[in-house]
Symmetry: C2
Subunit: 186 residues, 2 copies
Amino acid sequence: MVKNRLSPETWIAAGFRALSEKGPSALKAEPLARSLNTTKGSFYWHFDDVPAFHAAMLHLWEDRAFTGIVTALESETNPVQRLRKLGEIAAQSAPEEFGGPAAEPAIRAWARDNTKVAEAVDRIDAKRMGYLSDLFADIGLTNAELPRILYGGLIGMEELSRHDGASNKEALATLVDLILALYEDS
Amino acid sequence: MVKNRLSPETWIAAGFRALSEKGPSALKAEPLARSLNTTKGSFYWHFDDVPAFHAAMLHLWEDRAFTGIVTALESETNPVQRLRKLGEIAAQSAPEEFGGPAAEPAIRAWARDNTKVAEAVDRIDAKRMGYLSDLFADIGLTNAELPRILYGGLIGMEELSRHDGASNKEALATLVDLILALYEDS
DNA sequence: GGATAAACATACGCTAGCGTATGGAATCAC
DNA sequence: GTGATTCCATACGCTAGCGTATGTTTATCC
């Protein structure tokens, strides 16, 4: 029998997997331990308690939720290309360390019964909306509703995908086109 | 001391209130009883068990989630007016019987750890998307992505409002305008 | 206005998960 | 290799919520 020694990261990854698959109520020490074929002895060695574990998950996510997008768009030089690229990467699933596809909606759902999570989501939303605002401003689109339309569409479609399983690739591209039509006209 | 005798509907309303304010984890018999200043003796008189209570909540919602929208749009005669009106009513909060504002996002969050809820949301989403498809088809817009864009935007903005507290009135109106620009052009 | 039923209160045993404590195995230092 | 450290297993008491059983109150019906 191979004895896999676990790291905090392993637990956190298992946490995101459970969060995505079974919802926030699955983020408990003993069930997670079972999913890793171990006991909560390990859990309480790596983390002080359950809230501390939650905080660790949240910290990892908040750390990458904004910068991850920014760096992913760095390769594109002009704002229009960045907007189009944003539509593409948003249509893809999240990395495995966050529980694979539909990690973001799962975190938003988590925010409903956890204040700390809600606050983190608040901060990330504000940052992303600000970034979108700047992007639109760069191409001369100052309509204050555009970031909300695009980001809202992004969130909503991710949510929809979870239920109907469909891809958002086409829809997001079309949405960006609809918005950029304003740019062509100006 | 006035003895308020409770009905199943009172319990269900309290359920939606708790769901909206504290999340799915608040849908438990004893906490709900406390919120109504009573005991679970009443709960188990009106409902067989907790899953049965959940089913009752869900049944009420599913019953009104689609038809409610359709009847709200009946006053408008042509499809374009209906689309604009849809944007308006979606920006308002849900009726109090469903826990006031942001009831829909709460139910979507609930769907994450409850299969029955997820199935109900599936059915409602399909119906609403079908309705939107018909609406767009009526004005000659056959682009299959449009229902997803509008409905996704609706869902996402509702979610955003919960966090930043902002209204979606302007953004939804603008989104409808962006889409209807396709109609003007054709 | 006493009998009947409906609506609620209370007490009970049960389970899942929490956090602690302590012992045991695996790994590292040298 | 043995001593120390790191990591995990197990056992314990505790609490919240479940569902049942049974008692109490409140309304209803003639």
